[in-house]
């Protein structure tokens, strides 16, 4: 099964995005040998089955807490086929350093600018094509609480995760 992981710092709406993608079957269990719990679920895109892992919040690839260590272990050892970096669109200067780190890892990466509705309401305008061009990865505006951007996200997952 194609495995993808949701990665990102806490408070960016990662869980809501996870719920949007996996909708039905979700299991919560500890990462083996640790006390950190992970949510795993499945989703189907065009009849292809994917396993989705919601990693604990991570601020950088240099971990400080046990949670971050587990998130990084999943990226480094988890045999992932792709990652989705979920970020808070209102705080890109704080979020993009991790995007930079993640794109260096060598796995297909998709950037989800979550809470983009809040960003717009605050008057923040983001030119996703410019980000795409510089970062050379798909950039999708999402609102996980409302399901905005999910279809496009799933298209990109289907396209890029093998």
């Amino acid at each position: 099964m194609t495995k993808i992981a949701l990665v990102g710092s806490p408070n960016v709406g990662k869980s809501a995005l996870f719920n949007q993608l996996t909708k039905l079957y979700v299991s919560v269990s500890n990462y083996p040998g640790t006390t950190v719990s992970l949510a795993r679920g499945t989703m189907t895109i065009q009849e292809k089955l994917y396993e989705v892992i919601d990693t604990p919040g991570m601020y950088s690839l240099l971990p400080i807490t046990d949670e971050e260590r587990v998130s990084r272990k999943i990226i480094f050892e988890g045999n992932l086929h792709a990652m989705i970096h979920v970020v808070d669109a209102k705080n890109l200067e704080r979020m993009l350093p991790l995007t930079f780190q993640l794109r260096e890892v060598g796995l297909p990466l998709i950037l989800a600018l979550n809470m983009s509705d809040e960003a717009e309401k605050s008057g923040i305008e983001i030119q996703a094509p410019i980000l795409e061009k510089y970062l050379r990865l798909p950039v999708i505006k999402t609102v996980s609480t409302q399901g905005v951007g999910m279809r496009l996200l799933k298209e990109k997952i289907y396209e890029f995760a093998h």
Partner: protein, 482 residues
């Protein structure tokens, strides 16, 4: 999707390429990432690369040290700043934002929550509506009554009782399942009809508070006080959770950074934080006698801070740091609240419920063998030292197996008018302070180890009875009648 790292300054760039050269083995992760982490002296990557490259690792280590020597700040800092410069350039090209963000209502509410004058009253409000009204009145009152009376007593209990009595001819075995303390009649029924609605409503309330972003604000209000007991603001999370289920809260102490904090938090949870099952019953028991209620509240909270303070003084270690992100306040999202609540209830069913069934079996065995009667005889003198009637010994014993059994037993005594107000207060306080329930004891053993757990339990036992004894003494000496 592979990309070159192009934001480092020249010396770092050079060092990076040299390190990549040295990585001869094949890795699941790109060599650039590994090299960058090696420069920042990450222990996990260092161990990994040392294992793979063997002797060549020495050269890598030298490169890192040589590079680090060329800077006055740690490489981690330099690399972060290099990267940030590139990020800022990208953001300036792709993002435009207004000068000052508009003041939103959620921002105003946030201000109210963290200002001392309004913040603490808000905590009281949330405790009242969230805990007392929702979990207490609705959960442990309305819901429990409904499930217990309507569903169980009227339908399920009689059906199961006749089923078991029909299938198993021996009364002894029948008792195991449907007797007074049977696995089903008390164990399962208690779990589903009493504990589940109470704990379930608590988890719903907690998940809503958690999802709204309130917890960091509560944490910052309490950080200073918590520092006096060796903890920091982050400990609010297990402490508040303990009001729902101490067993789960003990597990959640994992989020605390140092061992010292975990030990202090575990001790305080076991000693002075009543779980919702116990809390509901005790509040119902004591509210007709307000003086007893306030005494109970005062003594329990007082011991919480006193023991916390003393333990912090006793245990060596430095004061923990407090650092939390304050996310904007949001309306809790239904899907989040439901998924968190459901996963917690699922955990409860799998981890705690079986222990309650075992508790029922143990009680049955204890009664059968006469072991219980023997222990109760031993407890009687202790109990009368507290000024309590002999029947209270049963409550204490059962209170260990299930905190709510103890409280329920207390309820029984009270309804038979066997207790004076003084005795009621003492019994309630002693029971609250008394040992954690079986489930919590086992989790404590898992998290803190057997030795620490036994030490804590002995201490708690002494504190519970000691407090009861002193109260009784005080009442008698000063002629206090509640």
């Amino acid at each position: 999707m592979n990309s070159h790292i192009d934001y480092l300054d020249e010396p770092l760039q050079k060092a990076l390429l040299q390190i990549i050269e040295c990585l001869k083995s094949s890795y699941a992760v790109s060599k650039q990432t590994l090299a960058l982490l090696l420069l920042q002296e990450d222990p996990y990557v260092e161990t990994l690369v040392q294992k793979e490259e063997g002797e060549a690792y020495v050269k890598i280590k030298e490169l890192v040290q040589k590079t680090a020597a060329g800077y006055s700040e740690p490489l981690r800092f330099v690399i972060t700043m290099n990267r940030q410069k590139a990020v800022d350039a990208l953001v300036s090209q792709s993002v435009s934002s207004p000068k000052r963000s508009s003041l939103k209502i959620s921002n105003f509410l946030s201000q109210l929550m963290i200002h001392p004058l309004t913040g603490y009253p808000i905590v009281a409000l949330i405790l009242y509506y969230g805990l007392y009204q929702f979990v207490g009145v609705f959960g442990s009152g309305t819901l429990v009554d409904f499930i217990e009376t309507t569903i169980f007593e009227n339908h399920i209990n009689p059906w199961i009782t006749s089923l078991v009595q029909g299938l198993l001819p021996w009364k002894v075995i029948q008792d195991l399942f449907v007797g007074e303390y049977g696995v089903f009649t008390l164990g399962v029924r208690y779990a589903m009809a009493i504990v589940l609605p109470i704990v379930g409503t608590f988890f719903i309330a907690f998940s809503m508070i958690e999802d709204s972003g309130y917890l960091p604000r509560l944490a910052l209000l309490l950080d200073r006080s918590f520092k006096k007991i060796g903890l920091n603001g982050r400990a609010v999370i297990p402490m508040v959770l303990g009001l729902g289920c101490d067993t789960m809260a003990t597990m959640v102490t994992r989020i605390l950074e140092t061992k010292r904090e975990k030990v202090i938090a575990t001790l305080l949870l076991a000693l002075a934080i009543p779980c919702s099952a116990q809390l509901g019953l005790i509040l119902a028991l004591l509210s007709p006698v307000p003086s007893a209620l306030f005494l109970w509240g005062g003594v329990v909270i007082g011991e919480f801070f006193l023991i916390g303070y003393l333990t912090a003084k006793l245990l060596p270690g430095r004061q923990p740091q407090f650092f939390m992100e304050l996310p904007p306040l949001r309306l809790p999202l239904f899907s989040n609240v439901m998924s968190k609540t459901l996963s917690r209830i699922q955990w409860y069913f799998m981890e705690v419920l079986p222990l309650f069934v075992i508790a029922s079996v143990l009680i049955w065995a204890g009664q059968l063998t006469g072991l219980f009667g023997w222990i109760i005889e031993l407890l009687k003198p202790l109990v009368s030292a507290l000024g309590l009637p002999a029947e209270a010994a049963i409550i204490i014993l059962f209170g260990f197996f299930r905190r709510d059994y103890g409280a329920a037993g207390l309820f029984d005594l009270q309804s038979k008018n066997l207790l004076t107000h003084n005795q009621l207060a003492i019994a309630a306080i002693t029971l609250t302070l008394f040992l954690p329930c079986v489930a919590q004891f086992l989790i404590m053993k898992k998290e803190r180890g057997l030795q620490t757990t036994l030490l804590m339990s002995a201490f708690i036992f002494a504190m519970a009875f000691g407090t009861g004894f002193l109260l009784n003494l005080g009442f008698n000496i000063f002629g206090v009648i509640l």
